[in-house]
Symmetry: D3
Subunit: 209 residues, 6 copies
Amino acid sequence: MLIQSVLAFSFLFVASYASVQDFCVADLSLPDTPSGFPCKDVKKLSVSDFVYSGLGAAGNTSNLIKAAVTPAFTAQFPGVNGLGISLARLDLAVGGVVPMHTHPGASELLVIIEGTICAGFISSANAVYFKTLYKGDIMVFPQGLLHFQINSGKGPALAFVSFGSPSPGLQITDFALFANDLPTEIVAATTFLDVAQIKKLKGVLGGSN
Amino acid sequence: MLIQSVLAFSFLFVASYASVQDFCVADLSLPDTPSGFPCKDVKKLSVSDFVYSGLGAAGNTSNLIKAAVTPAFTAQFPGVNGLGISLARLDLAVGGVVPMHTHPGASELLVIIEGTICAGFISSANAVYFKTLYKGDIMVFPQGLLHFQINSGKGPALAFVSFGSPSPGLQITDFALFANDLPTEIVAATTFLDVAQIKKLKGVLGGSN
Amino acid sequence: MLIQSVLAFSFLFVASYASVQDFCVADLSLPDTPSGFPCKDVKKLSVSDFVYSGLGAAGNTSNLIKAAVTPAFTAQFPGVNGLGISLARLDLAVGGVVPMHTHPGASELLVIIEGTICAGFISSANAVYFKTLYKGDIMVFPQGLLHFQINSGKGPALAFVSFGSPSPGLQITDFALFANDLPTEIVAATTFLDVAQIKKLKGVLGGSN
Amino acid sequence: MLIQSVLAFSFLFVASYASVQDFCVADLSLPDTPSGFPCKDVKKLSVSDFVYSGLGAAGNTSNLIKAAVTPAFTAQFPGVNGLGISLARLDLAVGGVVPMHTHPGASELLVIIEGTICAGFISSANAVYFKTLYKGDIMVFPQGLLHFQINSGKGPALAFVSFGSPSPGLQITDFALFANDLPTEIVAATTFLDVAQIKKLKGVLGGSN
Amino acid sequence: MLIQSVLAFSFLFVASYASVQDFCVADLSLPDTPSGFPCKDVKKLSVSDFVYSGLGAAGNTSNLIKAAVTPAFTAQFPGVNGLGISLARLDLAVGGVVPMHTHPGASELLVIIEGTICAGFISSANAVYFKTLYKGDIMVFPQGLLHFQINSGKGPALAFVSFGSPSPGLQITDFALFANDLPTEIVAATTFLDVAQIKKLKGVLGGSN
Amino acid sequence: MLIQSVLAFSFLFVASYASVQDFCVADLSLPDTPSGFPCKDVKKLSVSDFVYSGLGAAGNTSNLIKAAVTPAFTAQFPGVNGLGISLARLDLAVGGVVPMHTHPGASELLVIIEGTICAGFISSANAVYFKTLYKGDIMVFPQGLLHFQINSGKGPALAFVSFGSPSPGLQITDFALFANDLPTEIVAATTFLDVAQIKKLKGVLGGSN
């Protein structure tokens, strides 16, 4: 009889809260909203929706910057949708660089797993904060400010970066300026760079105009 | 002529603001989002969408805990969707108990309407705050912390609890540990409880494994 | 030896989290901030900081509107500071009225404890939503919209109102227009009311100019 | 070979972030949500989605209040959806008035472009703050509080008002009270206005009951 | 006797809400907090705290960029503290340019008051959105993204820009890179710019190292 | 002359934005607020305020649970104050366990650096989600829900956990129930645990009453 009562009680509570929203795994097939993607049906979720293995392998650093950023944002890992956090893996080969960039929508925390990284950011007041970081060091990069990471050691470096948003965005200054069809004259007028310099980098990065 | 001008003016304003969002009554037939359910068409709303009578009758306390929690969350009362508040009714028969639980997404305010309730919560710093409350007393339970309510009087007790979220969630510790298929060995390892104790409560609360 | 290990473990954790902010009981002696008052020292808190008894007694309804609103906002109940919720008690004698008003910073949920109340609100689109509410009924009033409550029964009425802010604010339209020194000509120009009507209400409500 | 590497790098990054949400231009054909409308497909956007020309022409002030408010809210300018800001144009002919009103969901900043405007607001504590503003002056109106603007100069006035919400709402007190079917007896009971005054304004503003 | 009752009622309400926070004018003499500056004492406020005249005069455009940005942020206009909005005036002489920049903490709305401005922004996905804007046109720049404004007309241009934050921040890319002591080798490594180009701009903008 | 103009321009901008708030390094000597600690003076900051080395060394796992959690929250790392993120290091010796716990104020992301961890959480709907995680795997734990981590491998395990709050809090269920002076009868009534079991764990964990 005890069991019977309890089950009744259990039913009461569980039924009442069936639609409570503890989480909201993104249904990427539906249109996004300002607060994130609509939620997948809770009944169709399993633990796999909350686990992601895509950061387990090193990114390919055979490129100009000798670096790879592998994100686990909503687009890759729908389980973080609506939860205000995400993660990325950063691989830097010897000499590797994450070029000057911003995350328009989130602050960032970097933790060094392996190697030596010189990292820094620049404030609105134009002050520069940079330091060489070693294994286990962490550094915070406040939201929206320009920052960079350079492998300053003799071997490869590995770091994880966490963000205070499931879709923090990433704007690499060089790509914004030189890897699209923004006219050279506008780039020149708004950056004071020489036209020859702009055309050179547009050539390298695939920009036109 | 005065009326004419005013009506023109009226039309101007009202037309302009026709789609302004004062509220967002949940359309529960559509997928949820991180900010709540999509809104029902304003043109189809009436005052009934903003009124709920489901808390008028006492909940059934003929169960093990001699208690009933009757929620008016978004799932029951779609009018609170997106407005950051909700309410529940708490009935406690003599000896009734709301077991140790948390609301993952909201703080709670309890107001005693009838009877005597011993209520308390435990902080992250492990401090205990509990007190016997009488008719008219209110107590606040900060977001996410373990708390409980016990009818410590000689008659039934009635209270209303308000939340700072339209879907505050509810996690009853005993149900989380003993009323599902979480393996006994994991429960034991993560709670230090004796296996016999775990199996006993799994039996009572319907858990397996 | 078991106990020894555990205590060491206990110390480790508790020390680490000593300054975690579960709550922030207002220190009303310090200047307010946009997010609420600075916090009292956690070490000086007791359960009394989270309990308030000021809503236990009926408010004095021997006044023009035969109504009394007794708030438990941050100013009266510092325990709600920073937690996003608060409560008030509403007493309405026979014929009592809470005049047309708004809460600039919060939505409101009304629960009828005793009596009969006709309550309503008006949307930005100028639609009117009102209904007679009975014991146990609840109604939600979306943030910032004009609303009112009238005792429409034959006996006194009692209700509790919860808010999605610890300092929801209250702007009674009549007081804003007629109970201060806002010049009559400005009131007339911005409300289309007759000057005689304005002067009459300024007289009643204590306004000047 | 340099170009090849860079393009590979470019592809890596751009692909990864393809679905990052920098903005969320409203798809007004879908149901709204508490955080705003679902987003249009990024691939279908052009600069036109972020530019609006509807505030370029003066509003029609040939009406009772000799004023026109032309909004650029989400409904008119879907590009602001989810971005927390919007704008409106305010034209006041000689003698023009924006009647006493509130924005339930946003604070407002007014900047005078041309002419002279007497503007003010009333606080919850019933204090009145008003001043005559000249070209270039700005004034802030805190969220949800009653405020007004009157052309107090000898020529027409032009101002722009910005809001801290893409859908700030607008509730004109006179329209809420007199331009709908809210019964005269309720208006009288909740405002203390004389029935004759109410009926007169209902007549002017198109209200019934 | 009527008056007497009402005054009692008035006292009841006004006293209760005396410390409600409608606004929070910054006391810039106290340390800032994450939500803004602590509030000035309400009793010491006047309408002057909510009005600012500093945008009335044209900024001085006799400089390299032939442009002036005159802000009305919390630092200049303490009345916007905690209200989520602010404003700035933008003067552009013939040929004037606001160089490529971001606002780390807010979206921006630009309204053209006079003249012709070519304005644009670049998204995280590296897409370019730019257009020539004329008097009365408005354009929105989503939070944290690189954007610019160029006077593309034959006369001076004037615009106002509103922000969804009382302290939106401003990071001009050129200043961040070339107007401080960030070492040339780091700038080169993180931007791919030629060292000669960097040194040239450091010379112009006052940077060292 | 070019340099002169630019410097003037530089001064104009930098002066205007001197007090812009990009970040808010906590001044832990001042009282906390609901949004975090007041900010240290920007002029006294250096890069050290944004870097923390306290997670570099393994925590001491010579305790009952064979585990150590080393936090970098606001209290340890004031640079994250107000930025919405923080980090902790998790060391698990062979057989180590992080007992069932919640973070009242934040979601959590776990990344496995070394070893094998069985991790899981339980939802409000009482569903269990757990899985064995290997090096490089990440798992998200939604805000406020009970979760745990167990070293299920044959060697030590190392993980980093990031949070969507600078002060996420931590409530270990066992400590909340058994390591303070919460009376045994209340624990029994609110958990259904046997009194003998409670007293045993109170003995182990240092609780009284």
